[in-house]
Amino acid sequence: MVKPVIHVDQLTKTYVIPEREGGLKAALRSLVHRKWRDVKAVDHISFDIQPGEVVGFLGPNGAGKTTTLKMLSGLLHPTSGEVTVLGFVPQRRDKAYLKQITLVMGNRNQLQWDLPALDSFELNRAIYRIPTRQFRETRDEFIELLDLQDLVRKPVRNLSLGERMKVEIAASLLQRPQVLYLDEPTIGLDVTMQARIRSFIAEYNRRHDATVLLTSHYMADVEALCKRVIVIHHGHLLFDGSLADLVARFAAFKTIGVTLEDTSADLSRYGEIMSVDSDRVTLRVPKTETPRVTARLLADLPVMDLTVEEPLIEDVIRQVFAQEAPLEELPA
């Protein structure tokens, strides 16, 4: 059996947060009697990730995704539990480990703001001790793949958000890391730029067999890149499996699109009408009822066309986020 690249076992992170009521009285009281509260950002989560896997790490804001990524990258010490990545314990911050990983945060800029990105690239070459030949090959490859020819010569502050993100990702991968932690890499970008970054990540994964753990609120990122998703909420692991399984398990409804010869027919008794677009009606039907409703529609009405579709992945994820209980307590 292949040894997992990332091994997480009962990982927990608790923050101790000061708190007090509002108002002057409470402010004065807090001078002598300070109150603290434990907040479990990550609560006993476990998973393994195999070499070359691209895994979507999903959860609503405050679910514990970034905290987990920070523990995996060695920025935070876990309160309890065990983590190993590439055989290293991240919080020991071995240089050999740091050279093999990268953490890209969508809203962060690690490039030199006033200088062209080429200078930041050169700096990374020195910091990561990349052999000159390999550095030039990788740099030129990334410039071509991400279409950066003109961008890398402009001061970073003159780049748009999307352009900056492309350059940022290129800079973060120059050392050819084996493990990529990507935290919202496409946040705030237009769809074209998102697609470009997605295809670049997929290409990097293919060429270098890198392991990728990706968080994103854009389901298009997840659908395009991840066969497997891990869902956490309130620090608990809610789901770990394929995207198809997630949909099958949590999608309570399907949508049926019907085109009729007679547009005056009332379809409300077959399901919830979601939209009517000239002669086409879209119905929302409980998943278990779908075969029966479909059969009835075909039998009762002059149907010209009928399609049954899975719900949008966004809707499924929203439903998963509505769950509070951990995986084992949820109905299968």
Partner: protein, 267 residues
């Protein structure tokens, strides 16, 4: 070692380029900074002249030399201030620094050294104006110049370590500004920044001997203006080395605890 040389070279290059980007604001900042020693210079050289030519062993021309060299030393010993740490943590820059396979202090040491080199080049015309306007008494030997060269970088390193240690306090409290203010007050009084220490009361001079501040201002200045014997020059360099090694040792000692404390919530 070669790898670190390469990193320092690249970072210094970036420091120089960054300073070039901000050349106008740097110049304005420098002009503002020079106001402080020029006031001291005028006051003390006037006092010296009115006291028959010298005060506390300094002639008017030596006071002028002291404060003109002061402007050079001050230009070189500017380092990353503790005020910047809070912003660095809040914006996530420190997380980015920690993810690199090198100690983050190397970044600050090398980058700021680069900015200082550029700053010194930009200081030269101002120094020329000060020399023409106030006519300092200064004729250093080659030994003094050589010792001065090492001493200003020694001052830079001591100040870097001091202020880094203060910056690390940010992990425990967001009130590091108050601590830093206290540090600056102590430095102003006990470093020779305000006046040469020989003009201060005896107990202040004794206190200053136990603290690092005089090695960040007064020692390099005195080295260049010819106020120290050869023995004092080399003992001074040795003292600077001692404070630098002490800084490295202390940083090693507390670094692991600092990393444990660092909890970049939402950064």
């Amino acid at each position: 070692m070669t790898a670190y040389f390469d990193v320092y070279r690249q970072l210094m290059k970036i420091g120089v380029m960054a300073e070039i980007q901000y050349r106008v604001s740097t110049y304005f900042y420098m002009i503002g900074m020079i106001t402080e020693p020029v006031i001291y210079l005028v006051v003390w050289s006037t006092i010296a002249r009115s006291h028959g030519g010298s005060v506390g062993g300094y002639t008017a021309g030596q006071f002028v030399a002291y404060y003109i060299v002061w402007t050079l030393v001050r230009n070189v010993n500017i380092v990353f201030t503790p005020y910047g740490w809070e912003d660095r943590i809040r914006t996530g820059q420190f997380s980015a620094m920690l993810l690199r396979p090198m100690h983050p202090i190397h970044w600050d040491l090398a980058f700021f050294a680069g900015t200082r080199i550029m700053s010194v080049i930009m200081w030269l015309p101002l120094a020329a104006i000060l020399v023409i306007a106030f006519r300092p008494t200064i004729s250093p030997t080659w030994t003094q110049v050589l010792v001065f060269f090492f001493a200003i970088w020694g001052a830079y390193l001591i100040r870097s370590f001091n202020q880094w240690m203060l910056g690390l306090v940010t992990f425990w409290t967001t009130r590091v500004g108050a601590v830093f203010q206290l540090y600056i007050t102590a430095e102003t009084l006990l470093s020779g920044r305000l006046v040469p220490l020989s003009l201060m009361p005896h107990w202040v001079q004794v206190l200053a001997d136990f603290l690092p501040f005089q090695w960040t201002f007064q020692f390099p200045i005195l080295a260049l203006i010819g106020k120290l014997t050869t023995r004092q020059l080399f003992l001074g360099l040795a003292a600077q080395l001692g404070w630098i090694l002490g800084g490295i040792f202390l940083l090693q000692l507390v670094w692991a605890a600092c990393l444990r404390k660092y909890s970049a919530v939402g950064n």
